[in-house]
Symmetry: C2
DNA sequence: ATCGCTAATATGTCTGCACATAATCGACCC
DNA sequence: GGGTCGATTATGTGCAGACATATTAGCGAT
């Protein structure tokens, strides 16, 4: 029996071996189904999968073409800091630095799409692995969007959020930045040390929930498979 | 007509509204198909999509459960540096710094799974946006895996590779690092400046092709949607 | 109690068919 | 030549049925 994974493998082979060069239109689903001796739905499943992976481009009526610039999509799993540390077999530690209501800086307000005149909850905390400071967390929360007003003394805001606010949408941006004085002190580094920064904006539907900036100590690596 | 996207939307709603709390087993496909008045295949499509997205976990016989830790998968498109710069409406520039055959450092050899005793092609180059140095590229190529021996005087190795070596697999790792003396000079920064580093290892099947380290000047952001 | 086998069951996938939808091609008119 | 509009066509999605496969619950023997 020909399965859709067999079809996918054969299509990949033909693209890689240049039987179907970049930019070329490949035979229609019906033709491939006849050739492989399977149903069109099976071919469709395989081609759809490859289109999602970025190898093919599909358009109704126009057919299926081999992607000219195979922009590879890497799927990176964004874990909880805690799960990430414990997954490496290290002891997780957490400490709250500050927690209060403040007007957000313009950059945060615009990222959340909220007026800078409002007041948001501002939480600063640290994450440790085996007692070593690893991540500096600077988070702004929209109190209007949260049912409760939880304490973040013991558990991190991220952990509370994933447990209480499922299925959010959002954006992540990664960059590098020099440690400022406060971060350097908290992380036990000298100011100017290069930090790996992940900034995450989270909505539930159209309601902004939180903006967080996670600054990782040198040595941190975010890995993914193509 | 109930479509699979309608089913998906309703499942998302039930998870978000806690009708189905995290960890709970949701009704079987047949039950949902009966409830929604559609075919099981339609429900299957919706649930499979959500499982791929990380919201659900599915196992044969055991059923479908709401993911306890909804590890969000972000798909990030990894573009050509050139396409990225031109996509912002800036003028792209490229300059080769050095090109030669050398034995690779241990770190590169092990990333590629090649013996450190062999010799690889080592290419160092720069990428510019509107004349401003933006990216420092440090690349090692496996000559045994390449059909030709192209010149990288005018076009970058990346560009030659995507045009001549389709459908590779690989890994990417992101991190932050301080600029060393050579990088600082090439990028017009002071040594120690925080660089956003993307390291990419590429195979074709099991044959290692290239290892590249792209160091981005401060200000660079890698963005993605959740 | 524990191990091992069997039967039950939910998901995974394929088939063959149908209709929907979008985009292109080409005929037609000016 | 150039623009409009319908016919064509490849993909997108739906349905009902069937079988495959993994996994678990439960039963029975030791």
């Amino acid at each position: 029996m020909i399965g859709w994974e067999d079809v996918r493998a054969e299509v990949i082979r033909r693209v890689r071996d240049r039987d179907w060069p970049p930019g070329a239109t490949i035979p229609a689903e019906t033709a491939l189904a006849a050739e492989f001796g399977c149903a069109r739905a099976t071919v469709n499943r395989a081609l759809r999968d490859l289109a999602e992976a970025g190898l093919l481009e599909r358009r109704r009526r126009a057919g299926t073409r081999v992607a000219l610039n195979p922009v590879r999509r890497a799927t990176l799993a964004v874990p909880l800091t805690r799960a990430e540390i414990e997954g490496r077999g290290q002891r997780y530690g957490y400490a709250l630095i500050s927690d209060g209501i403040e007007p957000p800086p313009l950059r945060v307000a615009s990222a959340l799409g909220l007026p800078a005149s409002g007041a948001l909850r501002h939480v600063v905390a640290m994450h440790f692995a085996d007692g070593v400071a690893l991540v500096h967390e600077d988070r702004w929360l929209n109190p209007a969007a949260l049912e409760a007003e939880p304490s973040f003394e013991r558990i991190s805001a991220n952990e509370w959020l994933v447990a209480h606010v499922p299925f959010t949408t959002g954006e992540i941006a990664f960059s590098a930045a020099a440690a400022d004085a406060a971060q350097a002190a908290a992380l036990g580094l000298s100011p100017g040390a290069p930090l790996f920064v992940a900034e995450r904006t989270t909505w539930i539907g159209a309601v902004p929930i939180t903006f967080v900036r996670l600054s990782h100590a040198p040595g941190y690596r975010l890995c993914t498979r193509l």
